[in-house]
Amino acid sequence: MSTRGAPVRRQGPAEGTTIHGLSRDGRRSWSLPELDVEPVELPPAHRRSTPPALPEVAELDLIRHYTRLSQRNYGVDTGFYPLGSCSMKYNPKVAETAAGFAGFQRLHPLQPDATAQGVLELLWRLELALCEVTGMARATLQPPAGACGELTGLLIMRAHHADRGSERSKILIPEAAHGTNPASVRLGGYRAVTVPADDRGLVDVEALRGLVDDDVAGLMLTNPNTLGLFEEDIAEITSLVHGVGGLVYYDGANLNAIMGRTRPGDMGFDIVHINTHKTFATPHGGGGPGAGPVGVIEDLVPYLPVPRVERTREGFAMRDDEPRSIGRMHGFHGNVAVLVRAYAYVFLHGGNGLQEVSELAVLNANYLAERVRAAVPLAYPAGRPMHEFVATAARLKDETGIRATDLAKRLIDLGYHPSTVYFPLVVEEALMVEPTETESKETLDAFAAALRQAVDEARTEPELLHEAPVTAPVRRLDEARAARQLKLRW
């Protein structure tokens, strides 16, 4: 890639220079009103002797520094971003407009319900809509992300079993499960027991049969599963678990594949979390915030976290008087401004719109898989991918020594954000690709061509891949050194 068409660049401090490096004694951005009351002295015992050494910079320093940093970052607004299991779709700007209304942005979490009827109604409507999409009875909007939603679900399972006086210790999860699943299982006070996959890449039902017993509190699954394949035996799977009194949890990270086509509730799931920052297009914010609403079937409603929005004769109210509730999962009501964006997305699309979202997400993934599978075979070529697919560079590695990560870095030089690599762990040299429905055929064709090119180069010009990236703000970084010689602050 020549510098032709490159973004403009400016002279600036050396790469890596922090805002601290721009600091000059006595320089400032801050302004505050003149104090209009008597100053007071805090008790000497409590007084800080020297103020913290925060940077001292002018407002224009701030502007240029962080504008510069933003230009060193790649987002969905920059280009194609096919991270698997993340649904990096377009984040509608209209949602930002709405979230910016003072009537949402300037609300205090503890202001009286009577002064917050609009936002309470919004949360109520969103809860019902998410229940309709997932086939659940009621939901909590409190969990600030999916992992927290998982733990919420596990604590609900715990409370459910406790109420029935049954002590159970195991949660079944497939080997391919996302790392947050086992981590949440432990935090839920359970032990994770792995369910093997069969050669279709699906839950091995026979093996599962052998694993379910009355020490099983529940099973966690995402469907389509982490390989992007639909668990065809899901009905049998859920009933097996129900058979021993267990509950079945749906990890909603992959909900983008099925909206309007099937619902976790219809598959027999009892608890569902949703990642609004995936399916419902709330911006990922460089790593967060998200929101992880959790829906449950009727029987489990009493266990949902408090406070919850209820409709009363006097209007909407935040209620926390549910004795069986597991309690609070968040200091206040969850990531409300994220939920406002999710509301905008859900109600903009409506039912048919959401169904179309899933249809085209699945179309895009299948089309892209078709375009690249000759170069990088699918991990489970027999199955039809849903909204994403997992390919493997294992053979390429054997033949050329080029690894998935080398392909990823080369894709950077070819102008793309790479797919997820090395997840799921069960697939060697995995490339997990989720294009989402907001990408065009042209984009998919061009990305497929780039990936095929990279694979060809692995044989013809491997150094291009070993050296990559060479056009990014930095080249390959020494992660080992970062962990060995810890430098976690200036």
Partner: protein, 434 residues
């Protein structure tokens, strides 16, 4: 409205390339019995202007803190958010990106988080910070998980810790196998104590003697976890200097809007010795193959995507964007600004305390106790009724004081003017006189 770019021709071509006849065929893997045989029962899709009108009307049915003069606190505060904060945090290359798994394309977010960690360390005088947690309450839960190891498993909570935080601990504790216990006597802590939690300034705004507590708790071989207020640290002794082991806070006050409770961010800072027990993302500085400085996620062996069941936490998506906002705000304030901010909060709270306690029947809940920007007053009537009556006059007088139905906690930030405070005093006076 839809955002998918597909034309009918695109769909046709793509289906042909797949040898499929219709979009339905894509869903063959779903057993017929499980297919939804009806359309989703939601309102039909609408245009952009309709959703904006809908949301504007919902927003208009709330009373925002521009309309009510805000003296509410209790963990979320009406501090001023400078315009630069979101002009920068709102840059789309940042807010439409995700966790920086590909550091070469994520130097913007990574460096900003490195700066965030650095400033949190400066602020708290602690050795290490992570890249943000969900919020203050869950940060406390994570701190407790850090502190609990083996036999050392019990967690005691000092008086004056926000009940909302205690409830959150209790919820998560059910899974982790502990229940927060009230701290009776720090001098006689049991062997198996993992940590003692203290909030300073506490939920009633009162300054606590953390130093004293630290001594006692350390003597018992346990850790002290302090819940702090970041904007107080321009004027109050930082947790690090108090000897605290783990410091956590609700970071909202740093550049984040009230947003009815979220998204906020949890701050957590600790000793370097505990770094491998820390939850969440941590950014480290390193060099690239050319020796040039760059930033990466580090110590990932702590995290769920590597360690899975053995991870220090299950957190994945965090509050990075809020941390970016906090970073810009801290840099905007600088040392002087933060100190002046603290001074103004303290002075205005003191003035409000004076004006309100002049009113007949209004007295301090904790007379003589030193405070920072928040204080609790006892009222001659149920606090909630008084608060609601004052609303009519355009003031949100405060938040109910936990455990004291007749008391209100009043928070005063730099946003409040002398006139606002006099206005509140007058309104409260009228209401009480009525």
């Amino acid at each position: 409205m839809r955002f998918a770019p597909h034309t009918d021709a695109d769909i046709k071509e793509m289906l042909e390339a797949l040898g499929l006849g219709s979009l339905d065929d894509l869903f063959d893997p779903i057993p017929p019995a499980l297919r939804l045989d009806r359309a989703l029962d939601l309102t039909p899709g609408v245009s952009e202007q309709e959703i904006v009108d809908d949301l504007r009307s919902l927003a208009s049915r709330n009373r925002a803190m521009d309309d009510l003069v805000c003296f509410a606190g209790g963990g979320a505060y009406d501090h001023y958010v400078p315009s630069v904060v979101w002009a920068l945090a709102g840059r789309s290359e940042l807010y439409t990106s995700y966790t920086p798994y590909q550091p070469e394309l994520s130097q913007g977010v990574l460096q900003a988080l490195f700066e965030f960690q650095s400033m949190v360390c400066e602020l708290t005088a602690m050795e290490v910070s992570n890249a943000s947690l969900y919020d203050g309450a869950t940060a406390l839960v994570e701190a407790v998980n850090m502190a609990r190891e083996g036999a050392k498993s019990r967690v005691f909570v000092a008086e004056g810790v926000d009940p909302r935080y205690v409830e959150t601990m209790r919820t998560y504790g059910r899974g982790s196998g502990y229940g927060p216990e009230p701290l009776e006597d720090a001098e006689t802590l049991p062997e198996d104590t993992a940590a003692v939690v203290v909030q300073h300034p506490n939920v009633y705004g009162v300054l606590e003697d953390v130093r004293g507590l630290v001594e006692a708790v350390h003597a018992a071989g346990a850790r002290v976890i302090q819940i702090f207020d970041p904007v107080s640290l321009g004027v109050l002794t930082p947790p690090g200097e108090l000897g605290v082991d783990i410091a956590v806070a609700e970071g909202q006050a740093l550049g984040n809007h009230l947003n009815f409770g979220g998204p906020y961010l949890g701050l957590i800072a600790a000793r370097m010795a505990d770094v491998r027990r820390m939850p969440g993302r941590i950014v480290g500085e390193t060099v690239d193959v050319d020796g040039q400085v760059g930033y990466v996620l580090t110590l990932q062996a702590r995290e769920q995507h590597i360690r899975r069941e053995k991870a220090t936490s299950n957190i994945c998506t965090n509050q990075t964007l809020m941390a970016l906002a906090a970073t810009v705000h801290m840099a905007w304030l600088g040392p002087e600004g933060l100190e002046e901010l603290g001074r103004q909060c303290a002075a205005k709270a003191a003035y409000a305390m004076e004006r309100l306690t002049e009113l007949p029947g209004v007295e301090l809940l904790f007379p003589g106790a030193p405070c920072f920007k928040e204080f609790a007053i006892r009222l001659p009537a149920p606090a909630v009724d008084v608060r609601d009556a004052v609303l009519g006059r355009g003031y949100l007088a405060g938040v109910p004081a936990p455990g004291h139905p007749d008391a209100l906690i009043v928070a005063v930030t730099e946003r409040r003017t002398r006139a606002d405070i006099d206005g509140l005093a007058a309104a409260l006076g009228e209401v009480l006189a009525a």
